[in-house]
């Protein structure tokens, strides 16, 4: 599905972060050994929603191109958060290394149109790339 308006993109972001939080919550319960790490991701997901919504509601203005700032195709950013009972730990971790592409694309599309919103997207992308992915890869290496 194509998303063009800022409102749609913010709702989609919220959905992504909520799905991600649900997924890590489940991982924290299934793999108690790394519960702290997974729960920190859950916390971060919630913080990301606040950060993006705050940026959007803070700058949305009739002078900005709110209805024309994006061209996001949601099919390009699938986030599979269901984990089968049989899934082993490695598989779960692989699944957990989720996408940063959505945030980078959304930031790029709106960079000169939506003021603080692209900056919020970039911050989240950076956190995921620099912190979350590294932490998950490190867990994977330990597993191997």
């Amino acid at each position: 599905m194509k998303l063009n308006t800022a409102s749609e993109v913010i709702s989609f972001t919220k959905k992504l972060e909520e799905q991600s939080a649900t997924f890590y919550k489940e991982l924290s319960q299934r793999y108690v050994i790394n519960e702290d790490i997974f729960l920190s991701f859950v916390k971060e997901n919630k913080k990301n929603i606040i950060q993006v919504e705050r940026a959007y509601y803070g700058v949305i203005s009739d002078a900005l191109e709110g209805c024309f700032a994006f061209n996001v195709d949601t099919d390009e950013y699938p986030l599979t958060t269901e984990l089968s009972e049989k899934a082993d730990y490695s598989e779960a971790l692989e699944r957990a290394i989720d996408i940063v592409k959505f945030y980078l694309d959304a930031a790029e599309q709106s960079k000169s149109l939506m003021a603080d919103v692209p900056r919020a997207f970039k911050i989240i992308a950076k956190k995921r790339e620099n912190n979350r992915k590294i932490a998950l890869k490190s867990l994977l290496r330990k597993e191997e």
Binding site: T5, I60, S61, D62, C67, S112
Partner: protein, 496 residues
């Protein structure tokens, strides 16, 4: 995409807010407020009687002495509380605007944010209202200026920004120690009722802020009443000019922000990736119903390929605009606010065809997303081959109709724009600082955009305007509006 929940679920008859009380009007004349997208009646508004309007003015007059003596700090504490309440109710207030006006939810949220920013700036009054002084203008003699409020002010609101426009004035009026009477547009008055509910909750004393519903008759009473010290108005040039004249005759202050015909000038070096979305917002945002909307697109240069490139991109992007009910988050353009507005736009489209314009995109039969009646919908409409002297290039349409014309160079583009009777908001899209400066220097308009399609000044800057787009001396917002709501006194003192 799901439709966001509508906050107004039951049809109620709106009440006036006078002297801190919700008062039912005794008028028999009641109008329906219709959601322009769904055509459902969502509320009813009375055309208040003359006595009721007078009561609101009397309440404002009587509240003035005590409010004036309330310290600026105490006054702005009320506004801080109001700001918090507006934030708490942000989403509901935004959805109400979409329900009663038809604009998209992004546009409504943008309007809410802009309105709140006015309250935020007005909370700076303890600093902003300060006077100035000089010691020893002669030996032992000092001179200083103080700013004082004047009394009760009236505001006559337009339909196109039912939440924001009254807030261009009311927070500044109240912060400076004046009292206020708002007459919302009878087409979409619910937002002002919601604001009054929050004003009440914020503890702003009775009579300081009043809302009285009505039409032209109520407006006339406000304009002519001797206890109203000044009028702020946003609407058509015809009415604004008349208000200016009437207020001038009796020495009242007036800010009348009126009609527009805005030119968007695209230079050959413009960045198209940023320009096209900006043009979409400018021409088709709020369905073209704003005094800052782009109306005439002037593509500069002798190069046919550049002209065709801009025109093709403009038409192609506009043709994909999703038109429908603004509470659907995917919608990029809502309906016109009223049937009258739609008929007016359709009339101009007919004129454009009759005068020889080439209709490249026809919005007369809008392609509506969702199952909604087409009663108020007009799709994006684009004419090319428009000459500056044609009716649709000169008169305000107030709808999603774009007229495309060519100019051989910047000089000609500026000359075309300056021939307009209006001077509200013109913009240039260019990568050249030299072109931008020349445009800024020579263009006859109050608000200038450089790579910006909607030139909406922030709350701390004046909302300028000139020629037939503004009548008055001081503008709304910024330092201008603070000066408007205050009188200066000069004191020269010597102690013997």
């Amino acid at each position: 995409m799901a439709i966001l929940e509508e906050p107004i679920k039951e049809v109620e008859k709106l009440k006036n807010y006078i002297n801190g009380e919700w008062v039912e009007s005794k008028s028999d004349e009641i109008l329906d407020i219709v959601n322009p997208a769904t055509q459902k009646v969502i509320s009813k508004v009375p055309m208040s009687t003359a006595d009721e309007v007078n009561e609101a003015i009397t309440a404002a007059k009587e509240a003035y002495p005590e409010w004036r003596e309330t310290t600026p700090l105490a006054r702005v504490r009320c506004l801080f509380r109001l700001k918090e309440l507006l934030e708490e109710n942000f989403e509901q207030l935004s959805r109400v605007q979409t329900q009663e006006h038809g604009k998209t939810i992004d546009e409504s949220r943008g309007e809410t944010r802009r309105g709140i920013e006015m309250v935020e700036v007005a909370t700076g009054i303890p600093s902003l209202m300060m006077g100035y002084n000089l010691e020893d203008i002669a030996t032992g003699i000092d001179e200083y200026v103080i700013y004082q409020p004047l009394g009760a002010f009236g505001h006559i609101a337009p339909f196109n920004f039912p939440f924001m426009v009254p807030l261009w004035f009311s927070p500044f009026a109240m912060a400076t120690g004046n009292t206020f009477v708002v007459k919302p547009s009878p087409r979409d008055p619910i937002s002002q009722v919601k604001i009054a509910e929050l004003v009440d909750e914020a503890g702003i004393p009775p009579g300081v802020y009043n809302v009285v519903h009505g039409g032209a008759e109520a407006a006339s009473i406000l304009i002519e009443h001797q206890d109203i010290k000044g009028i702020t108005f946003v609407g058509s040039t015809k009415v604004g000019k008349d208000i200016y004249k009437k207020c001038g005759e009796v020495g009242k202050r007036v800010i009348a922000q009126t009609s527009a015909k805005n030119f968007m000038v695209v230079m050959p070096d413009a960045d198209m990736a940023g320009t096209i979305p900006a043009l979409m917002t400018s021409f088709f945002g709020n369905s073209g119903q704003r005094c800052l909307s782009g109306a005439n697109l002037v593509i500069v240069g002798k190069d046919d390929s550049f002209y065709n490139k801009v025109l093709d991109a403009f038409v192609d992007t506009a043709s994909k605009i999703r038109v429908g009910y603004g509470l659907d988050e995917s919608i990029q353009m809502g309906p016109m606010q009223s049937i009258d507005g739609k008929e007016r736009a359709l009339g101009y489209i007919e004129k454009g065809i009759a005068e020889g314009g080439k209709l490249l995109l026809d919005g007369r039969k809008a392609d509506i997303i969702g199952d909604y009646p087409d009663t108020c919908f007009v799709g994006p409409t684009i004419f090319s081959d428009i000459k500056p002297e044609m009716t649709i290039a000169r008169e305000e349409i107030f709808g999603p109709v774009a007229s495309v014309m060519r100019a051989k160079d910047l000089n000609e583009a500026i000359e075309i724009a300056n021939r307009s009777n209006f001077g509200n908001a013109n913009a240039i899209f260019t990568a050249s600082g030299k072109s931008a400066r020349e445009f800024q220097y020579r263009i006859e308009t109050g608000n200038i955009g450089i790579n910006i399609g909607i030139v909406a000044p922030m709350a701390f800057f004046p909302f300028s305007g000139m020629k037939d787009s503004f009548f008055g001396v001081l503008h709304g917002q910024g330092k201008d509006v603070i000066r408007f709501f205050t009188e200066s006194k000069v004191v020269i003192q010597r102690w013997l």
